[in-house]
Amino acid sequence: MTHSAENPLHHPEVHQASLSGYVANFLITVLVMTAALWLARDNSLPAGSLVGWTSLLALVAVLVQAYLLLHMNWSKAQIWHTVAMILFVPLFVVMIGLTMWMFHGLYQRTAIAMPHQTMAAPMHPAPAASAAAHTVKAA
C-alpha cells in the first residue's frame, strides 16, 4: 500500500465526492423522512397503508442514498462495489421474505395465542420455567 507511486489524491474514488450530491442527498432524505413522520403522526392511517406508504418512502430514501452517498454506479472504480451490492440485496429479500412467510403460517398453525387481541396483557407474563434464572438485576 505504502509503495504506490502515484498521488493517492488523484484516485477516482477520491474524486467521486460531490458537494452538490451530498447536499441533494441530505435535502431529499430529510424531506422523505419528514413525510414518513407526517404519515405516522397520529395513527390516523390504517395500519396496512401506513406500513405500505412508509416502506415506499424508505425505499426512495435508500435508493437516493445508494446513488448519491454510496456511489453505486457502473464507473470503472465502482463497478465491483455495485456488483457486490446487487449480489447481496436479493439475499436480504430472500431471507427476510421467506422467514416471514414461514413464520406467518407457523404462528397460525401452532396457534400460539396472539396477544394482539389482549392489549392489556400483564407486564410480566406467567413465569416460564426460566423465570428463576432470568430474573434481571435492576438494569
Binding site: 493517492p8 484516485h11 451530498y22 406500513v51 427476510i96 396477544p115
Partner: protein, 213 residues
Amino acid sequence: MSASTNTRMQPGSTVLWEKGDAAGHDALGTRTFGFWLYMLTDAMVYAALFAAFGVLAHNAGLTSKSMLASVFDAQAAYRDTIVLFASVLAYGYAMVALKKGSRTGVAIGIIVATILGVIFLNMVTGDLEHLFSQGVVPQLNGFLSIVFTLVIYHALHIVVGVLWMLVMLMQMGRDGFTSNVVYRLINLRIFWHFQAVIWVFLFVFVYLQGKVI
C-alpha cells in the same frame, strides 16, 4: 473457446512475463473494495436482525400500548435522524475537501461530523436510560429484546465511527495525505454513510411501524 484457439503467436514475440511495474494493482481500490465487502456483511447482520424483528413482532402485544408508545417515540427518532444525516453531510464535506487536498477542510468536516455523532449518541443513550429507568428493558419480552438490540447495535457503530474519526484526525495530522490515510478516509466515508442508510430502516420499520405491527 478451447485453450489453444484464442491466441496464436510466435514464441519469440510473445510477452510471457511482465517487466517493470506493469502489473501494478490498484492498491487503493483493492482496500476500499474489501471494506465494502465487510460493510455488506454488516448489512447482512442487520438483515438477520430485521428477520428476527419480523418474527418476534408477532408477540408485540405482550408489551402494553403505553409502553410501546414510549419505546417508539417517533418525534425523538426524527430528531436523531436529522442529527445523523447532518453528520453524514459534514463527512461528505470532508470528502469534497479531500479532493482538493485541503487538510483544514477535511479536518473541519470530520470534527463537525464527530461532534454531531456524539450528540446523536447522547440523545440515544438519554432515551435508553429514560426507558430503562421506567422499567422498559430488553429483558421484558422477545419483542423488546429485538427492538433494543437493533437500536443499541446501531449506536455501537456510531461509537466505533466516532473513535475512528478521532484516529483519522491524528493520522492525518501526523502523515498528511499518504495513501494509507486516504484509503482509510474513504473507508470511513463508506462506514459513516452506511450508518445513515441503516438508520432509514430503523426509523421507518422500527420507530414508525413498530406501533402498528
